[in-house]
Amino acid sequence: MEERRAEPHDGNTDGVSRRDFLRTIGVGTLEAAVLSAAPLPSEGAPAHTGDLVPLVLTVNGRRNALEVEPRWTLLYVLREKLGLTGAKPGCERGECGACTVLIDGKPRYSCLTLALEADGHEITTVEGLMQGEKLGQVQEAFVQEDAFQCGFCTPGQVISAEGLLRKTPHPGVAEIRHGMSGNLCRCGAYDHIVKAVQHASEIRK
């Protein structure tokens, strides 16, 4: 999230930051595609429904050998092929953030990332933040601060917070609001989410 910067003031920064977020995602996925080692269908011959290519996907430290259609999104593969239903389909167009996962430690919208693009990269989903039987620090902070209501956006919020804190271990409030503005919460638990990120940052100190 190199492009993500704190705004000088708090108000109405969301539009900008969401654009930034999307732009960053675009860059991220491009890198991923270039880095991809998976055999892609030969140029000029578009993949057809049902054409499968092999892929090894590293999710939460575990290597999964799969066969995927080149156009399948990472979100689809995580949920439907690997049974990891933490990441949620909220809008499936890279706006709401419910599908956020970490790719090499950076938050990415898995609905806008092809599974093939994630080849060779470390994917972390909310299921992978546990420390053994214990909650991870960000997860613990979300529990302590009641940072959810219906919970549907929560896995994405937790992952975004994790990504933000990995890059900026001690963000200010403006940085948190900015950094978390790519994740929508319709219940409006934002105040608690911001406090949870602050809390997690404190735990990490």
Binding site: G11, A87, Q139, D146, T154, R177, L184, R186
Partner: protein, 773 residues
């Protein structure tokens, strides 16, 4: 009972383990269900052919209205909404065919191969056109007191105007979804994201032509509801049920976000005409109101919503003479539906705009004008429908909030800021909320529960309410644990299931905890009545001397204790084992119906509400005069939750309701083209609040020391009332742009940047005209 324990599902939420309908694993891969819907707002279906679509390998079913074995009807109150269109379509997005296939791609391929010939018909796609065409959805309603028309003529001052309030998309993060799993014979299990499992069950049975005892609807949790899943979750449930029945396979329908936004109803847009008479002190003397709602293509809950709007036009104010007329109009749009506040926001918005205008006309501070108009003892306490409001609660809250928010000093500071800035203006507004708690359709105020105690001393609570993020299960669990004197860890709340609790009401009207909490308490009371004498007998067999009486037993600290002989104590686990051995039944049903309420819809009089929830907010905003953009600087809220059942949850409801309301008041704009197609059908064009939009200084306080004896454990409902506190954002923006102008701009809801800029320009012209004159 103040409770700080974590949310019932906290662990599940942060680990991703929480199961929503789309996460449920069933044996075998469910077929994908897909809806082929109308591209026209109004058209006749001349002919169709689905044979080609059905011939695709992997496509299991393509169903039309002719394939429905039962009744082709989904209307929840009035039977005017078909399940699948036949002959005619009445809105863009209306379902015509259902497809089940192995994959989504096959569904889309099948949809492409459906041949259908439409004859477009004239479509009415906005409220003014519906009103001009006389397209009433039902008879108008009226509530009045005194003779407002006559008093308006006598009033020293009058004003009149029109207020438009916009639609609002629910934007639950989890779109509408249902998974139907066929069982033996007629059995069908439906996992649905519904706020109203019993109605979903009833409609599934009706559509399939089977009985309710064949259908089980189960709801673990919703990824948000906000009213949008009160009736309109029935549709995907019935559709998936039809496909499951036809294919004998599990079928899941999950609407894509854009389809969900295009196909489902919204908060009703209202056009409200008003005239108000007032005296020189700003006291309202008489008000006449005409409320016109855009109902969409079917009745749905429009009249209940209209009713609540009409019952809330007074908001917190005593109006001696008042006349309220309400109409619902039919348009060729998806049927508008319940949304948090349920008409309350529209009703209150018009009264707040009237008070705001009165204050500006008299050059008085709007907060002071509000105070002067509040309900107050002894003679200004009766609403226009005849229910009495608690004497001076509003005055008390006003005094506290004005002091705690520093309203007076900040008013001066805002004035100072505005005289020194060229392109920025600040505004301040205090708005109250008085919200009636109960379903206005009186019989709905009932709930059931089933409490099971197992012989290992653990407790499983079933009740009819649905968990949709409002923390209902957490509150219910706390209530059950407190009533049984157990730690929370021993109590679990089950998924809501129609085979456990029959004939429930929707989880709506902020009533979930009030009704279901009482039903759970009643079930536990029954268990205690059974267990008490058996435990007394047990103690009397073991201890010599004075006898233990059942009424002296206390259920505290994980044990049952004789309060007169504290040494006679048995831990809960052992006690339940003993009761099991003594053949005492350890499960009980509980039922609750709200006593003493009821009202006459025809005369518009009675006591529709058990009690009122009160709140008050002060919001300060800054507006950029060049862009029309605004920023909330600070919000102070004082809210009356009685004795809070759970502070964290109640605070979350207040903050979240306020933020959702702020979205409705400012950025959330629904736009359609002239053919009735939704233009704002995704989050890139429809703007709900984000983390950057919350007040950076957000102070939420509970009014303390006000137990509410009318609800479970002296609490008060909190789901909807805070939504309307956001009217303070709307009016603070108006206060800012009117700071140095004479005149009243058009200022609808939502006050988007465009609205704000237009208002600024309108005021500039009005000021220029004044200067010339």
């Amino acid at each position: 009972m103040v409770d700080h324990t974590p949310h019932d599902s906290a662990w599940a939420h942060v680990t991703g383990e929480a199961v929503y309908v789309d996460d449920i694993a069933v044996a075998g891969v469910p077929l994908v269900g897909y809806v082929f819907s109308s591209p026209h707002a109004h058209a006749r279906i001349r002919s169709f052919d689905v044979r080609d679509a059905r011939s695709i390998p992997g496509v299991y079913a393509v169903l039309g209205s002719q394939d429905i074995p039962g009744e082709n009807q989904l209307g929840p109150v009035v039977k005017d909404e078909v399940c699948l269109a036949s002959g005619e379509v009445e809105c863009v997005g209306q379902a015509i065919f259902l497809i089940a296939a192995e994959t989504e791609d096959l569904c889309r391929e099948a949809a492409k191969r459906i041949i259908i010939d439409f004859e477009p018909l004239p479509a009415v796609v906005d409220l003014p056109a519906a009103m001009a065409g006389g397209m009433l959805l039902g008879a108008p309603r009226k509530i009045e007191r005194g003779n407002a028309a006559a008093e308006l003529l006598r009033a020293p001052h009058t004003l009149q105007g029109e207020l438009h309030t916009g639609a609002q998309e629910h934007w639950y993060l989890e779109t509408q979804v249902a998974l139907s799993v066929p069982g033996e014979g007629e059995e069908l299990l439906v996992y649905s994201s519904t706020q109203h499992p019993s109605e979903t069950q009833a409609l599934v049975a009706d559509v399939l032509g089977i009985h309710r005892n064949d259908v089980v609807v189960e709801v673990r949790r919703l990824g948000g509801g906000f009213g949008g899943k009160e009736t309109q979750a029935n549709h995907p449930a019935c559709w998936s049920a039809l496909l499951a029945r036809a294919t004998r396979r599990p079928v899941k329908i999950r609407l894509f976000r854009d389809d969900d936004m295009s196909m489902t109803g919204k908060r009703h847009p209202y056009l409200i005409r008003y005239e108000a008479g007032f005296d020189a002190e700003g006291r309202l003397l008489a008000v006449t109101l005409e409320l016109h709602a855009d109902g969409g293509m079917a009745t749905d809950l429009s009249f209940a919503i209209l009713e609540r709007a009409m019952l809330h036009v007074d908001n917190a104010y005593f109006i001696p003479d008042i006349s309220v007329v309400g109409c619902v109009w039919k348009t060729h749009l998806p049927s508008n539906t319940a949304f948090r506040g349920f008409g309350g926001p529209q009703g209150m918005a018009v009264m707040e705009t009237i008070i705001d205008r009165v204050a500006r006309a008299l050059r008085l501070d709007a907060a002071e004008v509000r105070r002067r108009n509040f309900y107050a003892s002894p003679d200004r306490v009766t609403t226009h429908y005849g229910q009495v409001v608690e004497g001076d609660r509003l005055q008390t809250m006003f005094a506290r909030l004005v002091a705690s928010s520093g309203y007076g000093e900040r008013r001066s500071a805002v004035r100072e800021f505005n005289t020194t800035q060229e392109f920025r203006r600040r505004g301040l507004a205090l708005t109250p909320v008085k919200f009636g708690i109960s379903f206005t359709t009186t019989f709905l105020n009932q709930a059931g529960a089933l409490v099971l105690i197992y012989a290992d001393g653990t407790v499983l609570v079933n009740h009819g309410g649905v968990e949709m993020g409002q923390g209902l299960h957490t509150k219910i669990r706390s209530i059950a644990a407190a009533e049984l004197g157990l730690p929370l860890a021993r109590v679990r709340v089950n998924a809501t299931n129609t085979s456990k609790i029959p004939n429930t009401s929707a989880t709506a009207a902020s009533s979930g905890a009030d009704l279901n909490g009482m039903a759970v308490k009643r079930a536990i009371d029954t268990l205690k009545e059974r267990i008490g004498p058996a435990m007394a007998q047990l103690f009397n067999e073991r201890y010599e001397g004075e006898l233990t009486r059942a009424e002296d037993l206390r259920w505290v600290r994980g044990a049952i204790i004789d309060s007169e002989h504290p040494e006679r104590m048995m831990p809960f686990v052992q006690a339940m084992q003993a009761m099991h051995l003594r053949q005492i039944p350890l499960s009980a049903a509980g039922f609750f119906s709200t006593p003493g309420i009821g009202w006459d819809k025809v005369s518009g009089k009675g006591r529709p509400f058990l009690y009122y929830a009160f709140g008050m907010a002060v919001t300060e905003v800054e507006v950029d005069l060049l862009t029309g953009g605004h920023t909330i600087l600070r919000t102070d809220i004082l809210h009356d939750v009685g004795d809070s059942l759970h502070e964290g949850i109640d605070r979350g409801q207040i903050e979240g309701g306020f933020i959702q309301g702020a979205g409705w008041c400012t950025t959330e704009e629904i736009l359609r083209d002239e053919n009735g197609r939704l233009l704002t059908h995704a989050p890139d064009t429809y703007k709900i609040p984000t983390a950057g939009d919350i007040p950076p200084d957000f102070r939420v306080t509970f009014l303390d020391g006000v137990p509410n004896p009318l609800a479970v454990r002296n609490s008060k409902a909190v789901g909807e009332p805070p939504f309307m506190l956001a009217l303070s954002v709307w009016l603070a923006i108006k206060d800012a742009i009117c700071a140095d102008a004479g005149g009243e701009p058009h200022f609808p809801i939502p006050a988007t940047r465009e609205v704000i800029l237009n208002a600024i320009e309108e005021l500039r012209q009005l000021t220029a005209e004044h200067a010339r004159a």
